[in-house]
Amino acid sequence: MIGRNDYGDKEIMKNSDSQKAPVLQLKNITKYFGGLKAVSDFDLKLKQGSLVGLIGPNGAGKTTVFNLITGIYTPEQGDILLNGQSLIGVKPYQIADRGIARTFQNIRLFNDLSVLDNVRIAYHMHVSYGLAAAIFRTRSFAREEAELADRAGQLLSIFNLQNRAPEKARNLPYGEQRRLEIVRALATEPKLLLLDEPAAGMNPQEITKLMELIHFIRERFKLTILLIEHHMRVVMSICERVAVMDFGEKIADCKPDEAQCDPKVIEAYLGEE
């Protein structure tokens, strides 16, 4: 079945059967860096629409898991399935095309480019005109460029960044930079969004706004979200489930309040408030 979502974009609506299958599945993932086992026999299942937290002390391997999912690293063992399709050996840009978007622990914006351009670049994979059209400025090029600028502008407006559109990304205040990174990720029209410590460096008010934002985008864009966080307030309030890692292994996978009581989790460094 093909229907249209809020943006008027085509979207294949899953029938009820496949809605039960996990959007993302990691099976027995193991990753070595030289002699170091960074991730060990890691399993994870994410259902469509869920909001799951990935927590654990520093160095537990959480960002490595993200990098494995997005194809930056290849696991030595195990499989990663997106809607049943294996992602092993698939290049990062192809994985983005298949519907996984992410943000980075240390913000990776296109610093010298405008806010608008940062978002427009993320739409690139949906652009249909080619080299000749760009060079000769055909009518279809002009039309698509206008549409592109329009969509990017609309997306920025949803997140109150439209006034920043012409400014260089490096000049934005920190909180807006984090927001822009999320907006850019959303511009790729993902099914699964990986957020790597989105609350890092934020004050309590900003964190509250962030949590609202995460809820909002999950609803609005029909996303599945996997979130790495150290701020326990965030994890406890918005995550339906948490997977806890320590030394590359999963030591718990349960509801947040259950994790709080789990002795293994307590023993591992639970993270700071």
């Binding site: 860096f33 960002t63 990098n67 930056i72 980075f104 622990q105 240390n106």
Partner: protein
């Protein structure tokens, strides 16, 4: 077979001279991430200083060598102070272009008539040259001097870098400049010192080159400088043993290509090997695989 071994020895001789230049490149790159294009020209100035020390001041070889090394150390440190230090916080390419400017300046300034003049000069041999036979292979005093001086300097350098406090400071700065600063290390001093030592070694290379291949001119530093730089990259830029390894490989490959294949193609062969090595080992033979934190 003996011809082959003879060429190996010639190759090693050239390789050790390249090593002395390559060390300057690798140490400076390790500490400020700059490809110091002017380094080959410091090598050239060193050769000329040695020339004047021997020809005009009639200094004995070791003193002449020391004077050339000291002179170039001062020149190298001055260049750093005047041309590179102001650009330390600027984009790296700006320092690179400035280095090219310094290189051109040194070459053309030295080729002015009242300086060194653009003509080729014959470098004197400040000691008696004798040939020794070991089986079918001949060694000359020149080769013995080159090997001895080069190895001696390398050993001293290695000791300095690994076993002294200043050497440790140099290594610290090359790993993480900001943290080293926080630990109380005087960054400016260490960087100057690095340039000074690198330039002194290049000067030694220049004097030895002059003795071994006795024609010098103001543009003599371009190709050896380039090859020494390539050698440093080949061995893993930033790695001192890597620079020596890369230089020895470059020198040997160049000499062997010249002897067994064709002397006109020798540069192409050397650089093709470079490209092949980089394709399979992108950070050089002994280079650290710099994994970017994602």
């Amino acid at each position: 077979m003996s011809y082959f071994l003879q060429q190996v020895i010639n190759g090693l001789q050239l390789g050790f001279v390249y090593a002395l230049i390559a060390l300057g490149y690798t140490m400076v790159y390790g500490i400020v991430r700059l490809i110091n294009f002017a380094h080959g020209d410091v090598f050239m100035v060193g050769a000329y200083l040695g020339y004047f020390a021997i020809c005009y001041f009639h200094l004995p070889f070791p003193i002449a060598l020391a004077c050339a090394m000291l002179g170039c150390a001062i020149i190298g440190m001055s260049i750093e102070r005047i041309a590179y230090r102001p650009l330390r916080s600027a984009p790296r390419i700006a320092s690179l272009i400035t280095a090219m400017g310094v290189s051109l300046f040194l070459e053309y300034f030295c080729s002015l008539k009242f300086v060194f003049s653009p003509n080729y000069l014959a470098f004197p041999r400040p000691f008696a040259v004798r040939t020794y036979q070991v089986g079918n292979i001949s060694f000359s005093t020149i080769q013995i001097v080159v090997f001895t001086v080069a190895i001696l300097l390398l050993v001293i350098l290695q000791y300095f870098v690994q076993k002294t406090k200043m050497g440790m400071a140099m290594r610290a700065v090359s790993y993480d400049k900001d943290t080293a600063k926080l630990m109380g290390i005087n960054i400016d001093f260490i960087i100057s010192l690095t340039f000074g030592i690198g330039s002194a070694l290049a000067a030694a290379g220049g004097v030895l080159y002059g003795i071994a291949y006795p024609q010098i001119n103001p543009f003599m530093g371009i190709m050896p400088g380039l090859k020494a730089f390539v050698a440093a990259v080949l061995g893993g830029i930033g790695s001192i043993p890597g620079a020596v390894l890369g230089a020895v490989i470059m020198g040997t490959v160049e000499t062997m290509s010249s002897a067994f294949i064709s002397s006109t193609l020798r540069d192409a062969i050397a650089f093709s090997i470079l490209i092949l090595v980089l394709i399979f080992r992108p950070t050089g033979i002994l280079g650290k695989k710099g994994t970017e934190k994602v």
